[in-house]
Symmetry: C3
Subunit: 424 residues, 3 copies
């Protein structure tokens, strides 16, 4: 089961100290490159202007802990990399509990877990711990120690392109900037790697597939700034991959227009495979679909995932760990996306070539003794021919007839062979 | 009551042995010609290519029965022409009951009636009887005797055209290939004859009316193959006439697009006369609307009938007989179609010619002493003028105002006379 | 409170004997001119052709009463100007009760009140009284005395135009032909005067504001006949002001198209301020929106009022008096229309100028330490930027985001200043 392979790969990448830019990202990409050697790894220097933004400095952290007067480490970043605020400045200072608290972030709603906090673009010193642990700390002096620095470096991203028969593209985008958080976002990265492996092993495909691995927001903006014109011309549909590993729900978040090919494929596949999936509006967005759908970019990218980011209690806490994701969760996501890929490959518009209904009987496509009720099994062929008007694609006809699109694709193949329809 | 005349004519045509092609069809058409001498009868030879099809052979049947060892005829086609499968090959053979059953068609859902079975395009030998009769047959030898042959001949169809002031056409299509089945389809044929008689007696009409009498499917395809370009250009709306004689329901089946003039007229008339009518989707189609609405033909033809084919238990069994249809049933259908014809003649778009509301008072169209509530009877005139913008036709304004279209037509005539509106 | 000022002004104008044309209209307009000296008063002579109509004669009434045999005046127009039918011919005749009744109009549904009756375009002699009073009259002779005459004169209307930075106009239309009826229609006239005063005191405005005071129907037609081409080109939206002084409800009556700028502004403002307002279709219209929305005029004018004309029991009776309107009622209408004016001034379409989301953090528009839940207060800025695509105006974005338009306007001002969006 590929779901197990993805889970195991997730376990391997989980402990890496990934932050927006730096060695954690590079290690993660090199691990993916072991699976997909075709991956290109690109570096964009700190200080590069990308649209309204500037690529920031890299952040290095060597040590980060709080110890008490007895030199016992209360929390240590080496035990859980969520304990330090990402991009925190350095500090080395003893202070009373009251002052220490000014540096501590907790999540009161989830008092037992360590929250995930970042401060990429603002100078800040901070550590994170559980609300419960903080409340239990006795009065006294504490040593807050963060040995970190921000240095000129580069933003690192990965890109895999499998050329197809045409330049039209399906894009999969995943994000590689979160430390040890399993579902949001690592699960999307590891799923993407195995989807890429599956496409590499396909014998041939009409469309080109692009996999992008970037740090969230600044990475997406950098990638778009470098590739905008090509992507606008060629990407026909795209998906953000994140939160793909839990086994609770299926979710879809629409593009800003809501009726793009990306949306129509997602809705068709989910409604056929998991009709109880949850629909979210673009107003509920949170990840890099924000950049793709923005004014002037206008690339239709939506979200298909298990539990949506922000909609599960483990989100952005230390509880989003390897216990929350599972092989079955990954397997479900993998199958949904492979169905979307299959639909992307197979979906097209056909037009019936003969005038009036063709004589299906002499082609073995119709029961030859006709009486009441006998037409049912052939009805779908006749209906397909009626609605194959050159405008309706397989998704549209599937919606009209309420017949699964794969069944219609089988029929289309028979009718093409019989020269009764033509591809537009 | 014309319904009684139609019923009597139906009784006269009911016993004729009509099959896809041959003498039964010709006898039927000659009977109609007695009512409408203008009818043209056309013959298209067996073997003629019509789109994807070929006109088949004629079928003649002289005898068809099963007798038992005591020479008693168990069933005989002369008693009920449904007993023989239409286009069955010949046979003359004694056989045991078990083997006989391989040749027998029954309808288990309607165990007391003889089903209607055809095998036009496939070699087949078969007879039909009721499930109950078959089950009661004792063991023994039976003589299966069918004296039939398929011969070169021709497909016969009838056509009546009443030229109007314009070449725009309303088409009525009925089918003449079923043996003794009263509602599906003979009722449509006999209704068409009397609608044609009514139009012939009109003093003048703006539109041209076309009545087509053909065997189902192959006849429609043949007719379209011979007349496609003219029909595509001139037919503005059309109706399939069948199942017009029972008195249970009113039904409408949409064209493939669902919003053509044919649909809009049918919906308007039925919702005004029989607002409890049943709407069917084009997906529920079954008769020659399949051909007219097919890709590349695109002639908007829909169905207005009483109980729809396939939706009443008597359908395609020996129970669809002269007891199932009645004068009242025919009368209802006749009135609906005459309303559609009237609407077709009267419906058009008008545009108000004066700027602002005209002064209706000085034209006697408005109560001259105005106080609260007094405007009601004139409200519809004012509303008509407001919505007569040159785009809205009578049907559209009737929908907006929720006022019967005939009332609006009366108003339009007054306003035309007053020079307050102009026809588009 | 301006509502109190409007109410007081209403009390002052209430007793004036206003009829379609004549001194009552002129007195009313001169009173308004005291508030808005810029008002132009125009006279259009009797006999002038205006579209399908002709400006009628003026009507003068000096005395109108009924007295009994003891010379007691049963009703007297000097006590209530509704007692005489507007434009009634003169009479001076003693008659028995039975004959008298032929001249009397009552309102049986509201048996205690005097109905409002007019007969502008038809010769008629009539008086009005309550049903209850009529029924109580004893047998005997009565003196019906109306000293009135129709004379050549002119139709009088008022017009106020406040030029803005552009020639695009918002129009407010009120009607000045009803005698002592407070809500329908005087309340619209007095509200208009105070809205005009408010606009005069604005420091500057982008749009031009036009206030029109005319007798209903013939006045609107006259005004349109004289100004059609200019109005068609420049009026972007308009409102009929009437029934603005009661305190029971808020109502909106759509333009004929239902989705014009006038409609969209009315719906946006009412749904934000008084979400329980009642919507009426254009089919329920009754005032001069009839003329503006007519075919070929096509100026989008709708109705925003308190209780709609015809929908309250006091309508067109002597109960529509100064007890029915109140300062609070006027205050509510004033605030709604000032909101519409503000929305008209502020509403426009913007387009986001940067590609991808801008970096809000460095502009102080984003929380710089980001963790779960922290984005909420800035979400609306990000959403605004996503939907500011150059087509959506503030109303459209407000509908999509379900955020009050004024909040979006504040955001637009910030984003304009930051050079992140541009006005279309």
């Amino acid at each position: 089961m590929v779901g197990k392979e993805i889970y195991d790969f997730t376990c391997r990448l989980f402990p890496i100290n990934r932050y927006l830019m730096g060695e954690g990202v590079r290690k993660t990409l090199l691990s993916i490159k072991e699976i997909i050697p075709e991956m290109q790894i690109c570096e964009v220097p700190s200080g590069t202007k990308v649209f309204d933004w500037t690529v920031p400095l890299e952040w290095k952290v060597r040590e980060a802990y709080i110890e008490n007067e007895r030199k016992e480490r209360i929390i240590d970043f080496k035990k859980n990399n969520l304990h330090v605020v990402a991009y925190s400045n350095a500090i080395d200072e003893w202070m009373p509990l009251k002052k220490l608290k000014e540096y501590i972030h907790t999540d009161k709603e989830h008092a037992d877990s360590v929250p995930y906090v970042t401060s990429y673009y603002n100078d800040h010193i901070g550590m994170c711990m559980s609300e419960r642990q903080l409340n239990a700390l006795p009065e006294g002096n504490y040593h807050l120690y963060i040995d970190s620095e921000k240095v000129k470096g580069s933003l690192t991203y990965g890109e895999i392109i499998f050329k197809g028969d045409t330049d039209d593209e399906l894009l999969f985008h995943s994000v590689i900037c979160h430390p040890s958080l399993a579902n949001d976002e690592l699960s999307g990265v590891t799923l993407a790697a195995f989807l890429a492996r599956e496409i590499r092993e396909m014998r041939g495909h009409r469309y080109t597939y692009r996999f992008v691995f970037v740090p969230e927001t600044i990475g997406a903006i950098t990638y778009l700034a470098k590739n905008l014109f090509y992507l606008k011309e060629h990407v026909k549909a795209g998906y953000i991959l994140s939160c793909e590993g839990d086994n609770r729900a299926y979710s879809y978040l629409a593009t800003i227009k809501g009726n793009s090919l990306a949306d129509r494929m997602a809705i068709k596949v989910l409604s056929e495979l998991h009709s109880d999936y949850t629909k979210y509006s673009f107003l509920d967005r949170g990840s890099d679909e924000r950049q793709y759908n923005s004014v002037g970019i206008d690339i239709p990218v939506c979200l298909v995932c298990r539990s949506k980011a922000g909609e599960f209690p483990e989100y952005h806490t230390s509880n989003d760990n390897l216990d929350f994701v599972c092989p079955e969760g990954f397997q479900g996501s993998f199958e949904v996306f492979m169905s979307i890929i299959k639909l992307f490959e197979k979906n097209r518009s056909y037009r019936t070539k003969v005038l009036c209904e063709p004589q299906l009987g002499r082609r073995g496509l119709y029961s030859n003794v006709s009486f009441s009720g006998s037409k049912t099994p052939y009805k779908v062929i006749v209906d397909f021919l009626a609605y194959a008007n050159g405008d309706n694609d397989l998704i549209a006809i599937s919606d009209i007839l309420d017949v699964p699109w794969e069944r219609l694709n089988e029929i289309a193949e028979i009718l093409l062979e019989q020269n009764l329809i033509e591809e537009m």
